[in-house]
Amino acid sequence: MRVNHPTRAKAVLPEGAPLLEIADVRVSYGGIKALKGISMKVMAGEVVAIIGANGAGKTTTLKMLARLLPVDSGTVRFRGEDVRDVPTEEIVARGMSLVPEGRAIFPNLTVRENLELGAYLHRDKVTMAETMADVVELFPRLGERMVQEGGTLSGGEQQMLAIGRAMMARPELLLLDEPSLGIAPKLAAQIFKAIRTIAKSGVTVVVVEQNTRMALGSSERAYVLRTGEVALEGVSAVLAEDPEIQKAYLGG
């Protein structure tokens, strides 16, 4: 996947600086505190997993990053710049794309229209066609179903479409919220394979998963969230051996 953002000339990220850095971030829904001061760092090119039980605050974290939720306090830096008060469309333009939880595609729009919307901020037709060719290469099934309505796809195909749509924005950082949710295991494996392919092409990936085994298996580092706080963090392979994690999330 070519990484190229015609919409904005960006500052060069200093060597060794994290692509994404959040510190002591708090987010609440009305009175309910969903994130109670979390800190994370993601280096360019990494695949980072966020795991944790239902309601731990994983979706909240990603929505906060995509600027779909206001931050109560703390700092959010993307590419070294403070993005706490940057609107979502600007975040997308700067190279961060979210694949929302649960098949958030546009069901009555065709597959092509769904993908074209992903490139909403890249009005350049040639670039869009190239990116679409890349996405179809990643998910050939989408190419076969271009004129079909998104809602007529299978669950797994819809997830592919949602990821493909996010890739249409040519992101530098891809945020994925439970890509394997409610999808047949075989297709889930395929989707994770595609995520690794995306990562290999140089896109940084943050993936939220309840399927802990798969998440730890496909990522380099991981954060474990528990009721709005970072309970553990570390190298995924090490976390996978952690007895506490095995007991709590790996059913062993």
Partner: protein, 447 residues
């Protein structure tokens, strides 16, 4: 269009944007048709009530097309569309009547209409669009029923302000405006507004500054011509990037925001666009050559808003051609019911059964038609689809597999880029095993 050989991705982006020869031919033919109608409709259809019906149908098509932007594409719910139509009607009525006077009165000619109609309609579009913006603002915070109430409130306030204005002292707007600043600003300003609204004729309607009847400048050329032009625009809007974003917003606001669509901007703009369309439709109704030379507040009551919603739902919410069909059908249905009401049989029935309410009868017939439709076609005649829809039929924009381009579902497919394409995709295809993985389609296969 794509070259027959389908060479590489680079060609994909160059989908011909220039209007095709067919497009020009179509436009030229349409121009000839509307000019012929302008000059010859009276001879072709001597019955002015039928001419009036046809032109009203064209205006209603515009009403339905514009409401479809809010109710169909944006997924908001407005039940006060007649308010925008009425604003447009009154604005055009006032502007065209004054322009007519300023040009020395006299006969209404086709030549003069090229001055009067564009200016009047522009004024209608600006006034209605401004109110569309104001009414659209609450749509950011309100959803569904609550927003509907705001739109209804707006339409009724507009209508009642005019209808209940007391006709009293004869003061001109100029005289009233001159008082602003002399003894205060706010008081005299509202006094001027009141004088202005009063000069619109109250319940009896507005018939020009000297009450002689409005000059009716909008002949078939303008009415059918604009219905055609705006219809094509509405169709293009739906499939433009803008329309796509709007429809995306309707389907999933979070997902739309996640791809960079700003919900705020789109919601308000959809209201403005719809209001501008309604304003133009209203202006054309007010200046309709075969219409009545007055505009009356009751033409823009809740019934009219309701008719507009019916047009959109009947044709299929979200479908542009559907809205057009709905506009025509409802216009004719309403007229047909009125015709039935005045037949001998019904009139005899009425005289033998004095308590029979003919208006209620009309509503019952109307309701029966709608119920029948909802039973047979719950999504409206077309659903969200279009007549003559190219979008769905157009095959993949991507290069077709040719001998040197393996089939797309082969895992080790070569990069789609052709030799003249400098950048090479880095990503290889994720392995795609055969279909049977227990992952069934959600809905039935599309047609």
């Amino acid at each position: 269009m794509m070259p027959a050989s389908g060479k590489g991705v680079a060609s994909v982006g160059k989908k011909a944007r220039e209007p095709s020869k067919r497009g020009w031919a179509f436009a030229a033919a349409a121009l000839v048709v509307v000019v012929v109608l302008e000059l010859g409709l009276e001879r072709m259809i001597p019955d002015s009530s039928i001419r009036q019906l046809l032109m009203l149908a064209a205006c209603n098509v515009l009403v339905a097309l514009s409401l479809n932007v809010i109710n169909g594409m944006a997924g908001q719910f407005s039940i006060g569309h007649a308010g925008f139509v009425g604003l447009g009607a009154y604005t055009s009525a006032v502007v065209s009547a004054h322009l007519h006077e300023a040009m020395g009165g006299g006969e209404v000619t086709f030549a003069k209409s090229f001055v009067v109609v564009p200016i009047a309609l522009l004024a209608s579009a600006v006034v209605a669009g401004t109110f569309g913006y104001l009414v659209g603002l609450p749509s950011l915070r309100l959803k569904g029923d609550y927003l509907a109430i705001v739109t209804l409130g707006f339409a009724e306030i507009f209508r009642l302000l005019i209808a209940t204005a007391q006709l009293g002292e004869k003061e001109t707007i100029g005289e009233a405006a001159a008082k602003i600043g002399k003894d205060g600003v706010v008081g005299p300003f509202f006094h001027m507004l009141q004088v202005g609204i009063t000069s619109l004729g109250g319940q009896n309607g507005y018939a020009g500054p000297k009450n002689q009847g409005l000059p009716l400048y909008a002949g078939p050329f303008w009415v059918f011509g604009l219905a055609l032009v705006l219809g094509v625009l509405a169709y293009r809007l739906k499939f433009s990037g803008w329309g796509r974003a709007l429809r995306a917003l309707r389907e999933d606001e979070i997902a739309a925001a996640a791809v960079g669509v700003d919900p705020t901007r789109y919601k308000v703009r959809s209201f403005v666009i719809a209001a501008v369309g309604a304003g133009i439709a209203g202006g054309l109704m007010a200046m309709n050559r075969d219409g009545t030379p007055t505009v009356q507040p009751d033409n823009y009551n809740f019934q009219a808003s309701f008719d507009a919603i019916t047009m959109v739902i009947l044709g299929g919410s979200g479908s542009v051609t559907g809205a057009a069909i709905g506009g025509v059908l409802i216009t004719f249905t309403v007229k047909a019911i009125e015709a039935v009401q005045s037949t001998r049989v019904v009139q005899d029935l009425k005289s033998s059964v004095p308590w029979l309410d003919l208006n209620a009868l009309r509503m019952m017939l109307y309701a029966a038609v709608l119920i029948a439709l909802m039973i047979w076609r719950p999504e409206g005649l077309l659903g969200e689809r279009e007549l003559f829809q190219k979008q769905k039929l157009r095959p993949l924009k991507l290069p077709k597999p040719s001998p040197d381009h393996p089939k797309p579902d082969e895992p080790d497919r070569a990069p789609a880029a052709a030799a003249n394409e400098p950048a090479k995709p880095v990503v290889a295809a994720a392995d795609e095993p055969a279909k049977s993985d227990g992952d069934e389609p959600e809905k039935g296969a599309p047609p």
